[in-house]
Amino acid sequence: MRLVRELRDNSVEFLTSFGSAVIFFLRLLAYTPRALLRPRLVLRQVYVVGAESLVLIMMAGLFVGMVLGLQFYTTMAKFGAEQSLGAVVVLALVRELGPVVTALLFAGRAGTALASEIGLMKATEQLSGMEMMAVDPVRYVIVPRFLGAFIAMPLLTAIFNAIAILGSWWVAVQLMGLDNGQFWSPMPDNVDVFDDVLGGVLKSVFFGAAAGLLAVFEGFRAYPTAEGVSRATTRTVVMTAMAVLVLDYMLTAILI
């Protein structure tokens, strides 16, 4: 009986928070046109969110690319297929790894920062203070941060992909001795701009919306105490990671 009751309570709670997230999202969308009229606030957030994650994304891209180069080179050399390495690496990155890994890292770095920043602004009454100064905090604080994350994600994904490709090139060509031309030449024939590249961009756009929404949502509804803010931060990472992986499967299924 207890199990049933807990299951029921948990699913009610899940549905309630899912519903409020959707309402919150619609509210954000409704405010977006007006927020875009003040591009300085949004651009500042793109800069803050992007710059915060940039070094991490670049480092991660470099090593992911290097690992891919090494793994694929040794495996494909067994079948004498190493001349396809370049195309395989690019396809794996552009279609799948780039958007997903960037989104996961983004959630850990920028998403938590956003959630805790907003949660702390709430706990220190800065949001109520704005309300009392007749400035809507959703318009001034929340929407620019959401849009900042939304715009920064595809840009970060592009940087991640570029650096990862260079990383795998360095391992395959410079370390393992693959021919430079063999690495680059299969790419134009095997990588399609619409299917592969745009598909990846589309994913990163969806991930950007999800990561941005969850971070500002969790921060905005955080219980205004130290514990509440830390919970919101944790939930941001967990929820974003789940959302990204589920969305990834759904988008892949649609795009293929």
Binding site: M121, T124, E125, Q126, S128, G129, E131, M132, M133, A134, V135, D136, Y140
Partner: protein, 271 residues
């Protein structure tokens, strides 16, 4: 006595939070141009009352009229228009921590007006001068002491030249000097700017020196009101307990609890 203009009028206010009744039929009038203090022990909902008056919360029953408008019936833009006529001093100041003192005080001007930068600068410096902190203009909020942060917040609260200003526990946690400064500012601003001031506090001594009129709240009701002097001579036991700071009285020393026998002697039965 001359009939005064009432700026804020509350009738039959009832407000519940969960099962707890916070206000149970409160009527009160706040005259324009005066300093009115709302007093009561901690936990009586003084701050809640401010939030109700400023439309951050909605009452369950009853009406709150500010400058003739019923706050709970205003839509968002009407409420924001009304709030532009209000200043609100939060207990901790609620300064924006990413902005300098200058940008904090300039914030409402930048959001609500299109004034040229030079004029914004003059206004901000004048308001900071009024609270004695022009020298802090380039500091960050984290560099200010608690008393200074509150004065900067006060400068920000008056930067739009409001008609009324709300102080939420302005004396809490201040040293005697800062406290004296805030008391002086409340009085001065009220006189020089022609404001209506509403102060929530439980510091009987300080508030008695600035307030024209006091309301005492307890258990969701008004239990006493009048000029400070009249209240100090009031004979009702509750008012006497509060004004003189007696530990026991109508507000008991002990929070309601199970009887001593139950708490200490019946332990075995319960386990």
């Amino acid at each position: 006595m001359r009939q005064e203009e009432t700026l804020i009028e509350i009738r039959g206010l009832k407000y519940r939070r969960g099962d707890k009744v916070i206000f149970d039929g409160v009527d009160l009038d706040i005259p324009a141009g005066k300093v009115t203090a709302l007093m009561g022990p901690s936990g009586t909902g003084k701050t809640t009352l401010l939030r109700l008056i400023t439309g951050q919360l909605a009452p369950d029953e009853g009406t709150i009229r500010v400058a003739g408008q019923e706050v709970a019936r205003l839509d968002r833009s009407e409420l924001y228009a009304l709030r532009r006529r209000m200043g609100f001093l939060f207990q901790n100041g609620a300064l924006l921590t990413d902005f300098t003192v200058f940008e904090n005080v300039a914030f409402p001007l930048r959001e609500h007006t299109d004034l040229p930068e030079a004029l914004i600068r003059d206004i901000v410096l004048m308001k900071l001068q009024a609270v004695g902190l022009r020298g802090t203009v380039d500091m960050m909020p984290s560099e200010l002491s608690g008393g200074m942060a509150r004065r900067v917040a006060l400068a920000r609260a008056i930067v739009m030249d409001p008609e009324m200003i709300f102080y939420d526990e302005p004396f809490v946690g201040l040293d005697p000097i800062s406290m004296g400064q805030i008391v002086r500012l409340i009085k001065q601003l009220n006189e020089t700017l022609g404001l209506t001031s509403i102060v929530v506090s439980h510091d009987v001594q300080e508030i008695s020196t600035v307030a024209d009129q006091l309301y005492l709240l307890s258990n969701g009701k008004i239990v006493g009101s009048g000029a400070p002097k009249a209240l100090r001579e009031d004979n009702s036991p509750w008012v006497r307990q509060f004004m003189q700071g007696l530990a026991d009285g109508p507000v008991p020393f002990h929070y309601p609890a199970p009887s001593l026998e139950e708490a200490f002697l019946d332990r075995e039965d319960k386990e």
